[in-house]
Subunit: 158 residues, 4 copies
């Protein structure tokens, strides 16, 4: 059974709500899923999963430093994450406030690790974004995105 980690940073609880929905969907799809704050995760822990979904609020157009720190430290295991499936999500205060670029910046890091990504042709295309407190629209995007990632992880890690 494929194993998934949903790892997020959240101060206001907005990104946390998205993380919880993503994790719920992954579990419902049959993946063994851990939901953790970035403070609870060490770089070495990333090795134990087949699917990594990382979430952050949008701070100055990209991920919070706490999540970036985890990624910087993951260099010790560079190459060991290749071929795993990855995803990203973000909440921001405003439309046009940088949430798309935050998602893409996380995805860029996962590409550099040699990971496998998948966009969503219907929901938020790069990865789910919420404006403020996640509403039904944003949570539906989390659901659709997570469903796609789960299907991909199950195909690649049967």
């Amino acid at each position: 059974m494929a194993k998934a980690l949903v790892c997020y940073y959240s101060r206001t609880g907005n990104t946390q709500k998205m993380a919880a929905r993503v994790a719920e969907v992954l579990k419902a799809e049959g993946l063994e899923t851990d939901l953790k704050k970035v403070q609870e995760v060490e770089a070495r822990d990333l090795l134990g999963y087949d699917l990594l979904v990382l979430g952050s609020p949008t701070y100055y157009g990209t991920m919070s430093w706490e999540l970036k720190k985890l990624l910087d430290e993951s260099v010790k295991f560079h190459g060991k994450l290749r071929g795993k499936v990855g995803g990203a999500f973000s909440s921001s205060a405003n439309v046009g406030g940088g949430n798309e670029t935050t998602v893409l910046d996380i995805l860029k890091a996962l590409l550099i690790h040699g990971m496998v990504l998948r966009g969503d042709h219907q929901g938020d295309h790069y990865g789910p974004v919420a404006i403020g407190r996640p509403d039904k629209r944003a949570l539906d995007c989390c659901q659709s995105y997570a469903g796609n990632l789960a299907a991909l992880a199950k195909k690649l890690f049967p």
Copy 2:
């Protein structure tokens, strides 16, 4: 007096509405302003302005090919736009649908031309974006963004 061009591509009229508001603000700020569809503009025309603001709908996360064609053709005048002021705006069908990246992709082209940009710390940060038909929020962002660009152009091209 600084001269400005607002140049846009629009099929549904959404980007056009944003363009009209941007042009209106630039005029009100005292700039001699032309508002033109991309089909009416040739690369050579860009040389005649101190401020260029380019708008496009969001098609697959970046500008429409018609606007890209104008930029590709502007290579004939590479270096001649350096130091001019530039800006960008975009409308898209959805939140998370690529409008931030469309704005940034236009801004990247302007940086490559050696142009001067300015973000907006209050409105849409990279440049104005509308979700569907521009609402008051989006048009207010056009207003704030265009006001900042006008002030910058007047300082640099008194």
Copy 3:
């Protein structure tokens, strides 16, 4: 057997050389592979493949308008490319000249189509880039990248 299309725009032949190497590797990996100029491809043709690798020179930090036109026209088939595997490559005149952003802009379009991507942890991370005429380094990156994409396509489309 998975079917692949390598589709590129090239004026100087630099991007073409990269395309040829990518196609060669895909064939060697056992994929039925077509190598085509973007002028020879219609949006509808994209439906017939499991793996799409798109290449463009770097023009103002992103793909040439000719490739963007194909992507814009692919909107008629939006949703039909979901789950397929995708990749991108670019040649540029200079280091720091926009080749990374060109690759990423193509990848963004593929994410919006709901496609599956894979980075390279060793070679050019987002996708292969060449500075001027592709040298051994750049062609090795094409090889490594194409090998990864082929492996992914074979797993997903056995």
Copy 4:
């Protein structure tokens, strides 16, 4: 007289060499210039300058967490940096390794602060990048970029 800060993170000394050249050029252009490691700078310090040039190695396609932490903390002064001039530079291990995206991610943060940017139509377009130890090409790009920023800062803050 315009005041400039060149603030960087560096572990191997590569980014530091670029920072030193940028600072040297700014001084030669007549700006009162401080050159500081990011560990020596607090968010509040940013208020005291008219020009901010930020540099970082390329770690997973974007700036190091240490520089991001400074930007995250600068939110306390959001709005106070608007209209100031900004720039960015990066060193990376490889071509295609994420240095363009690192520069752009820093520039995005500066746009969100409402700052003024300028590209370079001749050198590295978004901002200077070095592959490994900065060579003459990379240092020349630092020189050209810093010269443009100095000219802009002197016009805007005479």
